[in-house]
Subunit: 405 residues, 2 copies
Amino acid sequence: MKAGKAELICTGSELLEGKLNLYPPLFHARLAPLGFLLAREQSCGDKLADIADAIKAALSRADLVLVCGGLGPTFDDLTRQAAAKALGLRLVRSKACAQILSINYKLEKLPPNMADQAILVEGAKALENANGTAFGEVLVKGRKLLALLPGPRGEWEPMFESFLAAEISAFFRRAPLTQIKLRLAGLGEPQAEALLRPARRRFPGLSHTILAGAGIVDFIITGDNSRGAVTRAGAACRRLAGEKFYGEGDLTLAAAAGEKLKARGRIVAGAESCTGGLVSKLITDVPGSSAWFLGGVTAYSNSAKVRFLGVKASTLKKNGAVSQECAGEMAAGTRKAFRSDYAFSVTGIAGPDGGTPEKPAGLVYFGLAGPRKLATFRRQFRGGRETVRARAAAFILDELRKIIK
Amino acid sequence: MKAGKAELICTGSELLEGKLNLYPPLFHARLAPLGFLLAREQSCGDKLADIADAIKAALSRADLVLVCGGLGPTFDDLTRQAAAKALGLRLVRSKACAQILSINYKLEKLPPNMADQAILVEGAKALENANGTAFGEVLVKGRKLLALLPGPRGEWEPMFESFLAAEISAFFRRAPLTQIKLRLAGLGEPQAEALLRPARRRFPGLSHTILAGAGIVDFIITGDNSRGAVTRAGAACRRLAGEKFYGEGDLTLAAAAGEKLKARGRIVAGAESCTGGLVSKLITDVPGSSAWFLGGVTAYSNSAKVRFLGVKASTLKKNGAVSQECAGEMAAGTRKAFRSDYAFSVTGIAGPDGGTPEKPAGLVYFGLAGPRKLATFRRQFRGGRETVRARAAAFILDELRKIIK
């Protein structure tokens, strides 16, 4: 079965003046289980004519149109008016909605601003908002559906989950699309593409997307799984990826390492120089990481490397802080200082300055100390400071994950 | 003078299937100096009819239309064909472009894939690509301009800078828009809006945008500065913001603190519990931060707090790790251990688990030790784990910036 066609309209001048629009991926993830894929996204400023025109055009193409934003009480909130204009309908005041606001906000009489929040497009079904004053609205136009949602994520997300998903599902009754996201580490986008090409060819009826992040690559398979095609394609890709595959969904590299450590009752600590706390930050992004992470030292200066981690002054003098020897001593010293089972270390030149012909920016050494052995690694990363740091962090988390048996 | 009206079309199914679109803010920043603001952005999949329809609609509304993506050599690159269809023009093979490819890639005879890269829309001016095989194209339609750009950032950005900016400037001859970005810390979006409202009212001819980040708020003023209005509005806002204003442009809180430390020859170190390395990461995001940052300890476990930072076991027993006493001892102990001028500490409950009625998730204590005194702070943050951590990090960096006299 083919996917249903949805369009998303995001309103707000800020989206055109410097603010990133984080919403399309979030809507994509919510629409696939309802059998819909996004066919287009439009970002409009806060102008009535623009929003109305965007709604009209989207309804002429798609079965399901979602408008996000512009339902607030201020002068630049114009989505209601725009939707009424696009559909040739009036705006009406809903007594039921006014009553709900009175109850929710414990107000006998609503102030004018809030009272206007009870204005709906004629014939709309209101969706209650547990986190704000703006009601969502669902409008039927022939065999199509138009939904208006408040702009803040904290308002539209719960509203979508609690009410809108059921409305869409009941109206269209589409078979859900199944989506699998496989996460791979230790390779780039072109290698991932080459690696997974055979699976892509074997399952041409499915949608295959490759997304590259910092040091990881996501492979997303979307389609009708009623005959198990998505499941089989996922299994084929996992086989092709081998050890590069580390998890599914939104599992981070740090969480994957953490799961293995936790299962084995082991703990880790770390020492960072050029990543300056980034690896530690990524580890502690994982809720409950205190069960398997003791802490770390950001040893940005040489004196901190000597004082806290027991790196020998002679090593720093002879080989420098960016060296295999220093990385090894940092990892071994951290394991000892924290009394942990495993310890990692990162030392390198993040750039843009500080490089030399022998040790250019992007050169990073790593250490990994375990109960049985001490391993060191050397990598030369490309890109700016942020990219080098992100790739270095992903690299050592991936090596940590792989070393835990 | 009013801003010119531009529209952006981004092609690529991945933008509708989970990939964030990072481009609109980048184009916004490049268009303002040419006198244009984005009036709409559309993301389309790789379908000829969709892209053609998007181009046609955009050209009916805006003076300048930019299409980014879909100029590559593979089957799903359809922007050329779509532009030709939208304008009712043919595609033609350019001998000059083929020659440029032959020279650039040192190929006597171009393989078919690459030879097709020399196909342009009839009448288009080709823009050379120093980083790939796809030419950009500029098409004049009456008093409007349509530009086609390759999708990868590493290709379109240099092409825009080197060629397209000059084409747009010569064709439209618009006065540049000046943009000022003021960065405020220690307040939320609504407070920033209320604080800056008087300036907004005094300069109604300018565009004012407020963007909230983690613990900081940007206030962006855009407009014609030929009579100094943008400069004056910026000065008025800085006055209204007072100590909340910490810098302009892309200056981070960590960089602002670093500038003050560097100017005074002072150095800092830090201890983090619930932020788990995030503050240290934000500091070392700043190139050259090794001049004023010695390092830090992520003391995630109690034992690490005692061993590395000299926190008393009795303090942990009596008050717990999340307490004013512990935060104070962590900061003082860090200053001593690192022998730094200043030291900060963060200890709290990031959530979602680990909270109690007395110490709920989001409760964070901070310490700040300086040459003369030791200060502690208590804050209760709202939001999920990521938000709590980000706000806590911004809070302590802002306090550090303010304490350095």
